[in-house]
Symmetry: D3
Subunit: 289 residues, 6 copies
């Protein structure tokens, strides 16, 4: 279960409110790289956790920390919205070009639906989706998903850092960027503990002898312009997991042209799909002239 403290995990100061920046911050709240996603993802992974309990506990710790990050960002959005221009009138825009520009850069629902507050949406106003929350039941599948989330999350936070010159916002983002650094380390540490590259492929509990042995360490190139694919770590030499040897295969079909049965009567395709009658043939011939 959970408790709260009325204070925030880290200082949230805005010296000069900027509604266009409020919109940008929304991406870090409700976007696929945002804090609602990692918060729910770590908590669901903890709640569904089967296996060594220490990873469950760790996920609970960091999932709980992320609620505090949503709180900081929501507060930052509300503070950046203070003083936002509340007009769409041409007169106001002509008088002050910045009003128009800021207006264009604002998220209209921040005012219309939120009364100058944060919403559970991304920078485009697209609502957060529970589909972003991955909890696969395979701990390494989950850990790589978490590394991915923290990597794109830290990229986002550094871009936000570049967009603002407000000292309070830069300070808050420097904190969040630091946390993303650590969280990348955390999930990768679990991967190391559980074997690193030796734990591949994921899942390692599926007997690898059952997978197709011709294609499991082969780079397939369907390129046909004659210039090919330059070599890389993945084109030759031992595989990273030490279980195979990389090779390159030119793409080619191993299957046939698919043949589906005719439509069932109850599906009510066109009659012509069911039987190629003489009249259809005649009709097609007529049409072709």
């Amino acid at each position: 279960m959970f408790y709260h403290d009325k204070r925030t995990q880290y200082k949230v100061r805005v010296e000069k409110p900027n509604p266009a920046f409020a919109r940008m911050l929304q991406q870090a709240i409700g976007g696929i790289e945002g804090e609602m996603r990692v918060c729910m993802q770590y908590l669901f992974q903890a709640w569904n956790s089967r296996g060594p309990v220490k990873y469950r506990d760790m996920l609970l710790d960091t999932g709980t920390e992320e609620i505090a990050h949503i709180e900081m960002l929501a507060t930052a959005v509300a503070l950046n919205l203070e003083g936002a221009p509340l007009t769409v009138q041409e007169a106001a825009i002509q008088q002050d070009g910045v009003v128009g520009a800021v207006l264009g850069g604002m998220n209209p629902r921040a005012f219309l639906s939120g009364g100058l507050g944060a919403l559970a949406v991304d920078a485009e106003g697209v609502p957060f989706s529970g589909a972003y929350v991955v909890s696969s039941g395979n701990i390494l599948g989950d850990m790589y998903t978490n590394v991915a989330a923290e990597s794109t999350g830290r990229v986002l936070a550094t871009r936000l850092w570049e967009l603002t010159d407000d000292p309070g916002m830069k300070d808050m983002l420097a904190f969040l960027i630091a946390r993303d650094t650590m969280h990348q380390q955390q999930w990768l540490s679990v991967i190391e503990e559980l074997g690193g590259h030796k734990a591949l492929p994921i899942p390692n509990s599926f007997p690898q002898a059952k997978e197709n042995q011709h294609f499991n360490y082969a780079f397939v190139s369907p390129n046909i312009d004659g210039t090919g694919t330059p070599e890389g770590r993945w084109t030759h030499g031992p595989s990273l997991d030490g279980k195979g040897e990389f090779k390159v295969l030119k793409a080619e079909p191993y299957g046939d042209e698919p043949k589906l049965g005719p439509p069932v009567p109850e599906g009510h395709a066109q009659k012509e799909q069911m039987t190629l009658t003489d009249s259809l043939i005649g009709n097609i011939k007529d049409t072709l002239g």
Copy 2:
């Protein structure tokens, strides 16, 4: 640009059609771990690729291969739907319990909207979403996202393999599982080429001195039940990137209680939110008795 061959990349055979399995296969088409996602993800990453061109070419190769995987799965769905029971009548169900069970296990839109064909949806009928497609512009952020997709994707494929005993389907899945093995290797190989753990944190182009130095290698534990978090690779010792030393911090607030300004008049909050008038106080006192 792109070309096609009418044959499939690998054999798609169904010996005993099973509409409930068709529904399961839809997860591998339109789900967040599915082939539409990786196909579009690798292609968008290629099209947006800035930097060394060889990674662009490799992404194009594998993105193109994934179109062929959607094709194989869609064909498998259509073949598994042949002979599906097309009734919801109790009489039929009472006569044959399997009819009812299969009916319950079917995706109704496979017949209603698809005429016994595949749709661009997952196993629950939720449409594929372009939001799943990540192309961040940071190559390692993208690569970890790709490893995550292929990890949860291979977990899904092995679960599908367990659910069926149709030899044709098992053979096709054994091929797809092998490809997921290789694709995990591929994206991890790029990470190795570009520095592996030494390339952390992602993005490595943000000057790390700008991030908060107190929190960037600290595990924060907001647990308060007194039993703490067991130690792990992430609680002490040098960090994976060799740039810090792990430590543990008990969670505590570094910020204050947030204070937002009063509502703006144009936002039409309740009057009582704007001024705590005497009458409100009286009213509240009355209500409290």
Copy 3:
């Protein structure tokens, strides 16, 4: 900021796992009446709160409690999924009709995507949406939205209670139903404190003299079958807020037929939409014969 205790707020026991019931419980996690919605709704309302601080504190308290409810339900889902049948084979279904029935009643992604765990989706597998989270900036607008959420939420919980006879699940639901009782009381208490019906209409800060005085206490009936609308509290007598007198108006148009301008050239409508040329008229005449 937030803390956690590894124990749950209330006991979560499942005596006889039931995967079909796991699916039903998902509605209380990711549905529009579910706990993710109220959790996020109360927290966003708190974070955006402008006006008397005590309501902010109360929202934080209850928003934090709701995280613990998601946790209990996610745990209940995972426990109900233990022992679920993992096959779609006809043979198994023919052998045991219950297998087939349960299979039809299961959420396929619980296994395919979650490895027998909870997901951030509703009972149909539709992902939770941030669009459900309402935080309007008007405290009474928010409070009525909260009452609505707890009313449909308690209705859902009592339906779940009817669907199960597992003593552990009934006990857990009896706890959640009790909490919904209290939460209905809480939000209505705020409404009472702030004036009850006297605080209407919402928002009360908009000068009511500006609204159309002919229509603000009139029930409009667009019914034309001659049997009319039976009378009720809303058809005559003083209005609930004491500011008007109810009346009934037969629906009739006060506006004209709308007239839009012709299409702009850059919008590329069909030519015939832009000018009703002679040739069009001729063409139409020809077609009409």
Copy 4:
């Protein structure tokens, strides 16, 4: 069944078209507080209505009126879009700053997809969702949901009223604001008729003795910063429904730490999740150094 009159329910006049205001109006069409939602919500509640028929008739009346409100708003959007700048060229923007500002404030799909017409989306371009439509089968649950919709709906309408100084638009909005006033009254009147606070908790048909008696009138505070929650109507005294006495409980866990079973083999977790083998322990020890 339904009929129409070509005239609108109320006058829709736009003296000075403003494409940025057209975008704002979209929130009142396709947003969660908008007219498509209340229209469909009242109609579905009517069509699903079980119990006293007069509420069904009333819902039909008002649901039908709301179609006319969508019509008015869609017309207003189309009229506001007339004369919108149709360029994204820098030259045009440099020549006339207002062009650029308006452009930034426009919804691009209004032109691209609608040819300067209204769409079934909100102010951010997010499509209307059927998930907003609540019809619970419990009449008070539905009525509170309707009050909530009309409350946030009227807040939205008053914000729109503030954003414009077009006399035609202000007049139309003054009409819609008046209708929201009445509709709040209507749904609250039904609640009064059916018992008001005495009808609580919702649903009142669930035997209240079955809910947990320790928690049903207790305010739970998970706050731990020592400053507590200020008292309110909900912390002591008789409950609003007269069936209990309010009290305050400090949050504490009544449950245990959850224990899930090990992963099933078919779910293909990592091997290390299934058995904590000696080699894993060795591996973890090595990694920890």
Copy 5:
């Protein structure tokens, strides 16, 4: 504006309620081929209509009729849900196999969220989306979209007709199928009036001389397996609009390999994407061995 009659447009009778059929009917309510879509589509097209007013009037007529079709279907769903089994208990299922089967075939939210009523969702429980509503501003673009909707809509209705043997439901569907027949005729009649094939291409107001003259009547085949594409009406002979001659082109690239600039510093790609430094080259060489 709009009016209603309490009676339905056509009889809605259900002799033997069937909850699994209720789920199927939901596709005709909230699906992309369903009545909510065509209803809103015709009404938005009417409200946005620019050009000859008679098409506006006709769209209003048929859009209004479609509201009555949603009403009939919602009523049919509610009637089919009466008597649905309300348990997920194994005991009940073992006792009566049909209970289990029906349960599997039911939409769980029909009970959980709707109290045995219709919802604004499709047969999979996916909410209706405003994105389905097309109103392009080009009358022929709209008309073809309408023909498409009525074509897939009639296909759906005939499939529903096959799934049931309830005389009431078959009678209602026979009515709806007839209306779809007429509506296909209606929209095609508008196309005929406005020129039929001679009105192509859509939009016909774009000067066709501006489009690329080499590709506008050429069938492009990117097939490379040597078996080619069989000939059809579209491979040779005069084009349907009489403005060109069909031909076949083998697909080939007319463009170059795309070259994007390097990443901007503020975007924080990995350093290695910005400059291919010696150390990267060394690193890559090391990794490749």
Copy 6:
């Protein structure tokens, strides 16, 4: 299966990058009229194709071509984003009004999530949805859906052509517009081959004698303002399919007022919905005064 060539199908040149135009182009990538939709639609139709194989092959050809169109547009987006202003600071905006305007016109996620690259979203940032992909199993249903997609698609492309004066972009769009011309022709040619109007109604395999004979060629007018619907091709004369005679019917109800049963106890409606007790009547009387 599929292959690729690193070159694009047609030249993609941008002389003067314009981030606001990049946003507009996104509609042609991820919008309902966009290339992701037609690409997936033609490919799923091909993969699900039952009946004459030549239409399958043709769909594969054009579906494959459309992948190349997504590629061209994604490349155009990335090129238009080069040099985009990366600030939301007022100072920068005051210095250069164009910066502000462009900023308002940009899609913020193009930078935040994409690092100045294309995303799988529309011009409003709404993600592409698999729900747009129609593959009905009825070939004419599919063909009319394809004509509709290419018609609204070409309308979109001509609007984009108007919005830009960049010669490279105009040239690329002139190519895409030409392809849309041909694709309209293609799908209409299939319709002609299969019978044109004589193949109506769709589906033609449903025995037309089963549909209601009173309503299948009748235009129904629910208009009540006395001005009626002007006559058109659809109001009298022989129907387009030659199988009926058009007529006009004034809308009137053929059904009764629906009567649903009382709520089931397990659904927990309010008590007052289940039995109209004396106390309720008394209560209502009291409330009405």
